[in-house]
Amino acid sequence: MIIPRVPVQHRRLLPDRRLSGPTPWIIAILMMLTLLSAAAGVGLARSANAIGDAIAGRVTVQIVTANPVTRAEQAAALRRGASAAPFVRSARAVEREELQAMLGQWFGSAEGDDPMLRSLPLPALVDVDFVGGDRAGAMQALEALVAREAPGARIIPHAEWLGPVARLIRSLAWIAAALVVLMALASAAVVIMTARAALGTHYATIEMLHLIGATDRQIARLFQRRIAIDTAYGIALGSLVAAAILLLVGWQWAGVTAGLAATASLGTAGWALLLALPLLAIALAALTARQTLLAALKKIL
C-alpha cells in the first residue's frame, strides 16, 4: 500500500506538523518540472516520429533538362512509370503553378504570377512515396527507372535534408526523458533527506518506542505514512500547476498549424503517461521513505 494504514491512536505518536517543512514545496516544484519535461519529451518524440515516418520513404526526382517540352515529357513518363511500379505507393508530378506559388513567397509575389517568375526555367519535380519495407531496393529500382525515363535527373531523398532536424528533435526528446529521470532521483533524494531529518527530530520518541517493544516496521509505518502524505500534497500541487501550464500551452499550440510545430502533440498515451507520473511519484516517495527508515532503524539496537 502506498500510504500505509496506521490506527488513529498510533498516528498521534508523531506530532501533527503537516506542510510545516519545505519538503512538500520542493516536491511540488520538482513534480511540476518533471511533468513539463515529460510533456516536452513526449511531444518532441511524437514530432520526431511523425517527421521520420513522413521522410523515410519519400524522394523527389528533379528533372533539369534544358528543353521545357522534353522536360515535361520526361516528367510525365517518369510519373507514369513510377505509378505502375510495385515498389511505389504513389507518384505525383508537382505542377508548375505550385512551384511558382512556392517561389512567389520569396519573390514577393504571393500568387506566383510575377512575369519574371513565369520566365524562370524551373525544374520539373516528381514526388515519389515508396511502399514500406525494402527502401534500399526501392531506391535502386527507382534509380534504374530514372536513368531510363529521365537521364540526368537527380533523386533527392527527403531524409537527406529533414533527417538532421528529426535527429535533433529526437535528441531533445531524450534530453527531456533524462531530465525526468534526474528529477525523479532528486525527488527521491529529497525524500531520503526528509526521512533522515524526521528520524533525527523524533529520535527520542523512536528510542522510547523501541524500548517498549515496537518493531522497526511499526515505527517505519508511522513515518512512511507522514512522508507519503506530505509528498502527496506536494505532488498534487505541482501536478495542478503543471496541468494549468500545459493547458495554456496547448490552447496556444492549437493555433499553430504550420511546419514542424503542427506535428507536436501528446496523444492518448502521452496524456496517460502524464496522469500516471504523479501516482508513480507518490509510490516512489513512499518506497524510498520506507527503505530509508528501515535502513536507519537497523542502526539502532
Binding site: 490506527p7 491512536q9 498510533h10 498521534r12 505518536l13 506530532p15 527520542a204 520518541t205 528510542e207 522510547m208 518506542l209 523501541h210 524500548l211 517498549i212 517493544g213 515496537a214 518493531t215 522497526d216 511499526q218 537497523k298 539496537l301
Partner: protein
C-alpha cells in the same frame, strides 16, 4: 505477541557471566559482571554516581549489548540474538527511566497506554486498565494533561504507570522515587512490591537507603567503579537490621 520462550523451571530470569562494557576505545566502564536474577525476586542496585548502574540497567532492558561476556534473558542468549527478535523480549520488560522519557506530545493517558497499543491491545480492552492505573497514581483528573504541564512527581508517576501497565515479567527502575514525596515513594514501592508478589522480577537502582530497608527479602547488588559486589543472594542489606 512475543517470540520469547518461557523460562524453564528453576532457571534464572537473567544471567550475566563475565560481562564487560566499554563505549568506543575507552576503558571498560563495567568489568567482569556476573550474577543471576531469579524469577519473582526483588533486587536493589546501589552504587555511587558514575559506578555504572545506568549502564548495567541499559543492558538489562536491552538498550545496550555487552562488549564481552554472556547475557541470557528469559533463558535465551541475547548477545547473539538477531535484533528483529528483541521487540518480543522488550515487551516482557517494564522500564522506569531516571529522566522519565515521556513522549511530550502525548497525554498522560496515551503515554500510559503506549505499551499496550504497541503490543496490539484493542482500544476497548486497554481503556479499563489505563483508567484504573491513572486513578491509582492519583492522576485520574489529569489524564488528558501533557507531560510538559505535569510536575516532576506527576511525570514520574506516569512513567512508572507506563512501565507496569503491561504486567511485565521484569521491571527495571532507575531511581524511580527520586522526584516524588516520601508518601508517594512508599506507594510506588508498594506497587513494585505488589507486582513482585504477582511474580514480576524487580530491579530498582537507588541511592535511597530507607527505601532498601522497606522491602522484606529484597537482595542487594552494589556497583563500585564498574565492578559488582555482593552479588545476588550472597549478602543481604541492611546487615544490621534491628
Amino acid at each position: 505477541m512475543t517470540d520469547a520462550a518461557p523460562i524453564r523451571p528453576g532457571g534464572a530470569m537473567v544471567e550475566f557471566s563475565g560481562v564487560g562494557l566499554r563505549y568506543g576505545p575507552d576503558a571498560e566502564i563495567l568489568s567482569d559482571i556476573s550474577f543471576n536474577l531469579q524469577p519473582g525476586s526483588f533486587y536493589f542496585l546501589t552504587g555511587a554516581s558514575g559506578a555504572g548502574k545506568t549502564s548495567l540497567l541499559k543492558m538489562l532492558y536491552l538498550a545496550q549489548r555487552p562488549s564481552r561476556g554472556i547475557v541470557r534473558l528469559f533463558g535465551e542468549d541475547l548477545v547473539a540474538m538477531p535484533r528483529h527478535r528483541l521487540p518480543g523480549f522488550r515487551r516482557r520488560i517494564g522500564v522506569v527511566f531516571q529522566d522519565f522519557r515521556l513522549i511530550p506530545h502525548l497525554s498522560a493517558r496515551d503515554n500510559i497506554a503506549l505499551p499496550l497499543r504497541i503490543a496490539g491491545v484493542s482500544e476497548e480492552d486497554l481503556a479499563g486498565p489505563v483508567g484504573e492505573m491513572l486513578s491509582w497514581i492519583g492522576l485520574g483528573e489529569r489524564a488528558d494533561a501533557f507531560p510538559p504541564t505535569l510536575s516532576g512527581g506527576e511525570q514520574q508517576r506516569v512513567a512508572i504507570a507506563r512501565a507496569v501497565i503491561a504486567r511485565p515479567q521484569l521491571l527495571v527502575a532507575d531511581e524511580p522515587t527520586g522526584n516524588v514525596d516520601p508518601d508517594m515513594a512508599m506507594r510506588l514501592l508498594g506497587l513494585f512490591e505488589a507486582l513482585n508478589r504477582l511474580g514480576t522480577t524487580v530491579v530498582v537502582a537507588t541511592h535511597d537507603i530507607h527505601l532498601i530497608s522497606r522491602i522484606e527479602n529484597a537482595q542487594m547488588m552494589r556497583l563500585e567503579k564498574g565492578r559488582l559486589f555482593d552479588p545476588t543472594g550472597a549478602l543481604r542489606y541492611p546487615p544490621n537490621r534491628a
